[in-house]
Symmetry: C5
Subunit: 349 residues, 5 copies
């Protein structure tokens, strides 16, 4: 998807910094929401304005199809053209880039569509300057509603802190979303494991294992570059990050590391399950072949004996004896029983 | 488990630093135990108090359900809200975080429930400041009873040393517990290996191999971050660690490295066993198929011959010869014996 | 290919710096194209000339068979003999080498021949000095037509920038080409995956998986060293790179990283598909063997019974009963039905 | 083993620095051997004594069961309690620890019991101070006899050098022993490979491959930490190592690296062999199944035909023809031969 | 081999620096060749002599069995005893060691015996001092003939350069030889791949894949340490390497990196081929089993029916009907055809 979209822009010979949105399009105008707050209060503004010292301005833009609104916001907050291009060029890898006037984040907001079992990825861009934060959400749904409520209702310390803490909180909200996906993976994995150990390894379970492996791989490849980005955020110098907030960012670094740990652990479990499935399939084949062999080994020789006495030679003395038939039946029964005993001893049946 | 619990807190829109316990709940109040000791003596205190120069104060809190007690202790010893949140948010990854007033450890205490073959993990948090140590144990059982006895009975040099040595001793006790689990893994592995090489690879052994692989992976993913944490402890500057104790911490670093080494070695062994199991299963299939092929190859042609002489053509001269039947029996016997000889030569039987 | 070509030169005892072209030969003379531009305008020159301060000279040479032209250009722009040798010695690994008078890049231009499903690699060399860029394209086709048009039509900021920006733009154009190949891989992978999950794992799909794995591996081994080269470009000191262009080079570094990420992700997907194919093949074998076993288990015993009553013993009382035949048919039908019921219960049929 | 032993000590609540031997016990007293030498001569001392400037004192203690002797020696040479604990706590990982008064090595002396094909590991500890070396060998057998002879017979430059050279020589002797084990691995591997390629992949070869893989893994896990230890020895500052001896230690570093290289190479070979074994087993199964299929495909249809003419219908005109039987025999022969030809063409037989 | 040889020396209790040749012995005396050259001319000397300022002395010694000659040369050029020991102790890992009076290289000269498909390794040692180079070739064949000719015929810039350039040229000649081996690997790999995709996966191809994997692994393990050695050569300070030659050494570093890249790529290809072979073998088994199942499923039920009407019950009404036989033949034909149709629809035949 990503490759195709980027190619689409570039191959028309546009220079790198052109603003072209590469994601799912909708004709609705962008939703803009501007919140200005400080320790004493907050106000929702109809239009954005320049940040004021001592307060934090948060401009949230949703729906990237409206490139004009984005260009306008970019100009107002002096966001570098390359950064603006990245805002629109969705499905980039997560990153933090430092500009002269702020920090620029690209972070994927990931969720799992449990019906189709597909990973849904929404690209979120955050530009965090002195006294202001501009966040760009790809689709109109609001990922940050809970955070906005915490600001307006003054829960926790967010109103006492600056723009860097708001940026941290935005990232933390996104990373919290990852735990939800991990959780869904784990639910699926636990039911899968139970099914494997109780009803056995069927075709349907195989498909589920491989689908889940694909999802975990996909998730991992998306979150991996974020680890580097938040590490850079933690180590960034003091221009845009207040020292008193470092501990919070360290906590965020820790959460991303934990997500990666969990993913690695889940991958190990899935590989283990896959190997189990294979061993189980080999086991089933063994059982099938054992049954076939037992049946064949018992009846093929007996059939042969019956065939011998079904021959039409004129001179076959046994055929004329009084009890030949019954003796042969007895011999056959003994043969059958002793073979069953041998297979029983070998634990084949 | 972990993912789910963290999510549970966060999704209610609580700010990061809220104190919510995420583990198994019990209504019992926390058990608090306060020990004040120096080289000359020790006293068990009913209530905690401020640490005194020249002596070490150890506050041990068990059962994290009692969040009020924890909040109170946290306030008394000025433990950072983020650290306190981590105390309660169980099943975090192991870590060491440096705060202005102390070192904060999260360490998993691991044991193996040999009945269900499940890894039992108890999160232990340790806050080590100047002259005091606060340890938080998730469940009411006391992991540190042996250590407490060593202090009260003045065994070894612990009474001559400060709070950093106590912290080292607490960590050392936890790491010693890992050896016990490794030991149980090894016992299981040795019996498994013997079974594999004597009675062969059965379905039951397969399940044991995969279960053990899962346990070892799980263990490794939990202990891995501890290596980094104790390394950081060893390299931490002199504020909270006395130079004379570095050698002990180096020893601890060494033990954790040894645990990881053993785990890697056990993983290699398990992968080796798994490959052996597969080779053994393939071998069994080969044997089964060989038997089937031997039986079929001998009797199917013989049955065909018998079938030919069972046909009802009127003009079949052989049927009327005097010794036709006996000659045919002889030919069949020769055929059978020569095929047996061929299979014998090929080492199929 | 590469190994053979390099060997061919060297084994004649030529010293390392001899100019011998190792790629596909053509007798046509090299195509040279010289463009001189600055912010105010541009001119296409019939002959190259010395760079002038304040403007950028871009000499583009296509078709490396014409070694004389290359030697001449190398002399005119003082390109080091080792660099010139690398220009001709095609299929080298990507690299950046710093010389006293400029930066020297080797970059593969990769495309996919979708008919033969083979990776086509053209080696491009770029020498970037103060005020001039010399680019060497292996074959006569022009990879940089779009870029040339951007200069002549003054699109974007390229006319406002120096030789370093032109070098960046050349590299960016090549890296954009990689996305196109990734895209083709992805298309193939998606159709493959759909085929696997709908019509199943056939021989033809196996061949496609392995061919694609080979292509992705090949691609990765060619692009891997480029990551190092562009990283070096970004970190190179200020002699040949203007500080204002660092952000653009950082963007390029990012794109190469993203290409590598995508390749890793595609490799994981292919390994997953391969494992799926194997599981599917094992599954099919299981189904085939199950059918064989069902048929054999039902009919081999029945045939044996029929064989018994086909024997020619004179004294076989059952044969003479009035309803023996019908009773036996009934017994056989019951046997057959009960076996079918057993297999149904085991979900074999 | 290691885990169990360490646990055994610790769980009795002993403090870390207690002296408890964890290895195979014997009641014999320790064998002590003291050698004092310098360039001009040597003397074997009945009792140890303080080192003298200008000469080297080597105290060698064998049999660690005698903990009293070890404690006494430890006290005499001021060996740190933690180091002494490590001396007795056998089967630790290899390491070098720097103390104020000397360097402390733990090195495993490894040999292969070729009868049981088990790795025998003896832990050797070396404490190297200024002018003296104390070596602790776990069992009474002397690993260093050859070295001792070189000192007393003044072979090479050992008598001209100090305690650091003696330490180097001790380590070098142990590492030389590794080559012997590698050699035995290689012998086994070469005979295994020959067997695999000549007589084929049998059950017995499978067991040998897996046993060898286990041994090589085991060996690797024991030697791996030694690489770090000798590297530290090489880089250690000048207090305990004379500059003129660095080259020798570099040689030792090199040898350990070579041992690791050889082990990696042997692991690759074993994995290759294992894959070969599996491919060979799959191949054999294919051959077995091919034989079964050939036999079945030829005779099952023929038997059916014979069965048809064995039916007892009254009106079967063919049965009454003069040559029906012979014609049928001819048809059967043609069928059989053409099927054989088809299988021959498919290279199945 | 290596392990065995080194052990052989050491176990006789010889000190590390003894001169014992460990390779293939021959009784011929060493071939010595001394070349003295500068920009203006060259002379071949009968005996070696001290290097003269402004010219380069190259002493080339072939055939290491003649340890006396080597000891003499070593003494004349003051080569350290440990280095001399390494010269004779063949099959060491590649390395560069810096001594006070020169750089000492161990490099394997590798070639492929295409008849036995075995890697032939000749150890070459180079000691490069100020104004002189001593090269030791293990066997009498001359690897450097081409280089010698370049000096005497004054091709390229070698005569204008110093001893460091000669050393570089010697190494470059050896590394060029690696390309030849890579080339032979590639030829084998391409024919193998073609065979696999056209005539299919036979037993013979399996053996070739595994042999090639072994060769590539072997090659890689030998060249891997060289990468480190030439990197050290490039970074070594100015004592023995003139700044003007750094670019050439960088080129050499690049070539070794390219060799490693190619090997990695070839390993990936071989693993891919191995997986393809396995998939192909599984595929063949599937086809064999399908044929067996088709034949059995068609004829086993038909044979049963024929068996029923071959029974000798007196009262079997069908037998007496006029057209019973023909009706039954028709039913059988219909059964057979419908089963064939089913298998056709399932794409089994």
């Amino acid at each position: 998807m990503s490759a195709r979209q980027i190619r689409r822009i570039r191959k028309h010979g546009l220079p790198p910094e052109s603003l072209v949105y590469t994601g799912r399009r909708s004709k609705a105008p962008a939703k803009l929401h501007t919140l200005l707050y400080d320790e004493s209060g907050f106000s929702e503004l109809p239009e954005w304005q320049q940040p004021r010292p001592g307060s934090v301005l948060w401009l949230d833009i949703r729906n990237l199809s409206d490139t004009d609104a984005i260009a306008k916001a970019g100009a107002a907050f002096q966001i570098h053209p390359l950064a603006l291009e990245d805002v629109l060029n969705t499905r980039q890898r997560a990153k933090l880039e430092e500009f002269d006037n702020g920090l620029f984040f690209i972070v994927p907001h990931l969720s799992l569509n449990t019906k189709t079992m597909e990973l849904v990825s929404e690209q979120i861009a955050i530009f965090s300057g002195n006294g202001f934060v501009v966040s760009f959400q790809e689709i109109p749904d609001d990922t940050f509603a809970v955070l906005r409520k915490r600001i307006t209702e003054n829960v926790g310390r967010i109103r006492k802190k600056g723009a860097d803490f708001l940026t941290y909180s935005l990232l933390d909200t996104i990373v919290d979303g990852y735990y939800e996906v991990l959780d869904q993976f784990e639910d699926e994995m636990i039911t899968l494991e139970e099914t494997l150990h109780t009803t056995g390894a069927h075709n349907h379970e195989k498909a589920r294992i491989f689908r889940l492996k694909r999802l975990v791989n996909d998730f991992k490849h998306r979150v991996l570059p974020l680890r580097e980005a938040v590490g850079k955020f933690y180590r960034s110098d003091g221009t845009f990050v207040d020292e008193s907030n470092r501990l919070y960012i360290r906590d965020l670094v820790d959460h991303v590391a934990q997500v990666m740990d969990n993913l690695d652990s889940e991958r190990d479990m899935l590989f283990n399950m896959e190997a189990y499935y294979q061993a189980e399939a080999a086991n089933k084949l063994n059982n099938v072949m054992r049954l076939l062999t037992v049946i064949s080994t018992i009846f093929i020789p007996l059939s042969f004996i019956a065939g011998v006495y079904g021959m039409n030679f004129e001179n076959m003395p046994e055929l004329r004896t009084q009890n030949g038939y019954f003796i042969l039946l007895g011999v056959m029964a003994i043969l059958m029983l002793s073979m069953l005993a041998i297979f029983k001893a070998r634990k084949w049946i």
